[in-house]
Symmetry: C5
Subunit: 275 residues, 5 copies
């Protein structure tokens, strides 16, 4: 962890990373309901929204589409990933070097570590290399810290997510991307485990505006620094209203209810999430 408040991927101490690596990780099936989003240009367009501090994509998409958006979008190159055609113990191929990411204009790099996997040792050693090389290029490192593997059935339980943020801190990440552990209290503990390192919530599969913004609000109030979101944004035909809402909740620290214009429902939603 180094101070990164001056990084372009941070705005007022917060980050909203628009992720679109699903074509690699999940395959085209994630685009079934919004086939036009198979065109990466459309997602880059979305990333020009002021709420978004960076777009997270794989090397090939960065090479092909970032040049047209380099003035309007900050680029986070995800350095590893795996198809879900492969079904072994969780692991991820390092498919881009830090040097090449820097060359194509990255403002930050991302890397998945599956703590608890039989490949933890190897992934952490790969992380060491990319983290230290990223330091040379002055690029912040975001760890997708996703405990997973033999013996880790429920990977969102509070102790797992707290371990996930701590792992990221100890190993030298600048931001940890973790799943929401189910309650504001658990998220707050996970953020405390991270010390001064930033924690962003992982967006997960598509839910309603209310549910999603409430979870984000809960993350922010727990000490989180924003979110990395994919499907909840680009699987919407028009993501603008949700992005406007995220801007209010994250940077202006409004309640989800206020951001959606129905203040009165906010507490009820919170209670439901924390229950």
């Amino acid at each position: 962890m180094l101070p990164i408040d001056d990084s372009p991927i941070v705005r007022d101490g917060k980050s909203v990373i628009l992720a679109m690596d699903h074509g690699l990780e999940h395959g085209p099936v994630d685009f079934e309901d919004v086939p036009e989003k198979l065109d990466p240009a459309q997602v880059f367009e979305t990333a020009t929204h002021d709420a978004v501090t960076a777009i997270a994509v794989q090397k090939g998409i960065a090479e092909g589409y970032y040049p047209s958006y380099e003035n309007d979008v900050n680029l986070l190159v995800k350095l590893n990933g795996t198809s879900n055609l492969w079904m072994g113990e969780p692991d991820s191929a390092v498919n881009c070097s830090v040097e090449y990411a820097a060359e194509i204009g990255a403002d930050a790099v991302g890397f998945t570590v599956y703590g608890g996997s039989n490949h933890e040792i190897e992934m952490v050693e790969e992380f060491r290399e990319i983290q230290e090389e990223a330091r040379e290029y002055g690029l912040p490192v975001v760890m997708w810290s996703y405990p997973r593997g033999q013996g880790l059935k429920n990977d969102t339980k509070p102790s797992t997510i707290s371990y996930a943020t701590r792992l990221a801190l100890e190993l030298g990440a600048d931001i940890a991307k973790v799943k929401y552990p189910g309650s504001r209290e658990a998220m707050a503990h996970a953020c405390r485990c991270a010390g001064d390192m930033k924690v962003v919530m992982s967006g997960g599969s598509k839910t309603s505006d209310e549910e999603f913004l409430s979870t984000v609000e809960s993350t922010i109030r727990s000490g989180g620094s924003g979110l990395a979101v994919g499907r909840n944004v680009w699987q919407r035909e028009d993501p603008t209203p949700l992005l406007d809402g995220l801007e209010s909740v994250i940077y202006e620290e409004q309640t989800a209810g206020a951001a959606l214009g129905n203040e009165s429902e906010a507490d009820a939603t919170d209670a439901a999430i924390e229950g």
Copy 2:
């Protein structure tokens, strides 16, 4: 993916790659009916046809025969491959470096990735290295994107081929070579998944002129950019008529029927394929 329309292996935005690595991948058995084609010079002769934008061979053949054809043929060096004497989980040996390929005159390089294989991680990491090194040499990279391995029985079903093209895009290929997924609709989806990256159809085992050209036409009409073909060309005693047909279908965007001089049958054939 980088813009490659100015590459010598592209003509009017299209590519026809004549592949002859079967001696390594399948063994001499593929030459049983045309033993004279065991002489690589004969296949290089065929590659001088205007329809062909590159010949794809392994290092040893490139070393020995390309010097006599360097003015008439564009060279794509395939950088990995495996004999079928070996019967393990799909994998492929990296048998030529990018540096050496460049030294012997390559205009492009090719690399197989078996997505879904237990060796996917390793192959993708090898691909990273060759892709980034190819960038330094300014050589386009063609990915033989062939999902295969544990749990992937039918490797030409539409969702598999769409995943194959997307994988190639995300990982940074310039052209993806994939199998025909059985229908024009499926091929069109596979091409959409590839964004702006070029997709070429894999020729497969020898069929009739009609069936072959119709499939090629279908690929072109689906947004494909040509084909990589081996046996359907050099297993013919005289490949010229078929190459003439390919030239019409691919560069002039004629129907297969028109290219074969029997326009009336074209729609019927299309229907059969798409059925």
Copy 3:
């Protein structure tokens, strides 16, 4: 082993290393009773006590917190470690390079070797690389010498701990950190096996002041050179009294009883430990 009496991590030939890598090795659970210690700054504060010759942390914590303490604390960067989410044969990921440790100001480096593990070969080879690189940077190397793995049930029996110190000597460590083998006689043998190399006792899980200081006294009287301690210090709400006691026992070679102000109990305690 090289002479290291002039190293900042040694005071009068002795060392007290305050270790705080538990967030990685054990997870946040070790901080359950003292949640405020999840903030690494609090443990760095503790490390400013004169008794402490170095703080041992992982790279990420060193990056984030050492800059505020570089004038008051000596830094030992632990170069490998593993989460306990992972449950395979003992192994440890090399998560920091010697070069990077030096760059962020390390005064020494630490490395775990699990002798007897199925990964012994690999870990010893990693140790070779870090040890030789540490020599180039003039950094002392502390080996966490922890025999563990298939067939090693009781990893604190006297012969195991004696083997542990000898391994560290033969492989080129400057200090071996080993578990207390249960008796003063066994500890003395372990120290003899180490030749002129320094041996420090591993603190282990939290016990009473009396028990802990008596074990430390026993180590010092056996020829040991101090201790590496974590939970027994920072799991205490106010660690100062214990650190004062350690200072007396280790540098002034007082008895544990004298250090605690109840001299008369000292012999009884010793007897209990050695029994």
Copy 4:
């Protein structure tokens, strides 16, 4: 494959490689009947015969004995090998680098590839490295192309040997050393599969002069370029008459019968072999 007719290991387009790596591959047992040949100097003496274009030995023997013969013998350093004390799936240790082989005066290098073995991938990748490095030093590469391993019971059947020569061609060998596939017709096919690359027959275990020379004659008439022979030469107390015979059959293209002075038997022998 590069043109190598000007290489010192080729004479009039042909090669006779005297191999003596049996001490490593088979152990001293191969020298049981000729214990004086345990002295490598004796085999180097034999290699001074005009019929021999190179001696093939391992690094240690080359280091120790070649300096006394560098004016009279051409040196081929075999770069990998394995003892038969080891009994796993066919593999071979790379025991000499190309750079070192060049430094000790090699005129060519040799490398075994077990196509079809579970180690094929790894061996082919090792071959890539040595082949490309050999190109930098201008050293021809001889591949011991020996399909072997899981599922490859009879490793001299015609289709296996034809695959073996083709593999060598595709992977960039300059000469393939293969076993005799049992008939002149099969050997001719194997040579056709090799394109312009040279194929030499592997000598195998000791047989009579008649049988051996007839097989060699058959190889030459099939388009082969000579042989690599060990036991059939140095297991003879006086190898000179056989070497004289090989000179006649290989360079002067005489029949085996003529070379042995009993012309009339030649056709009968041929028939027997081809039967």
Copy 5:
């Protein structure tokens, strides 16, 4: 193998290597009866005897103790080794680089190869690297050639030891250290298999002066060049008489009996050994 008669570890063509790596290989248990020898300085003292041409120790011991003896002792750094806490298929960790051995003053390096182990391939490849690097530094290489592993039950039978010396010769060792194969005839064969390379006998576990010197005499008369001895020397309280005896037997080529002052018993002892 290179000529090494001018090396400091050779005296009149012979070598006596005092080995003390038992603390790593066997653990402190080997010092049970002579605990004072746990102090490496004591063994270095012993190595100052004129009979000893080199002391063989691991890196850590060399670092710590050789500086005090560099004028009186020649240093052989053993570059690999493994604890017997680990119980897998025979293997050995490379725990010191050639470069570092040279830096700390080594006159020679040593390396174990377990021919026949499932790790033979890997160990031979490691040997290649250290052997070639040792050539650059002008350091002789001693191979501990110890066939061992799956299927190798009796690792001192004559054919195994002969294979062991041959392996060392073919792979480029300058001296092979092998176990005594049980008879003078077998040792003589093992030496013949080594060509011009030197063979030294491995001392093994402690025996009587008579038995030990007789075996050494047998080795010398068989063409051996000395011995590498550990326990038989330093497990004796006063090793000087035995070292005097070794000096007589090895450099002056006296009989064991004469060396011990009881000439008449010599032949009988010989007969017993060879029986």
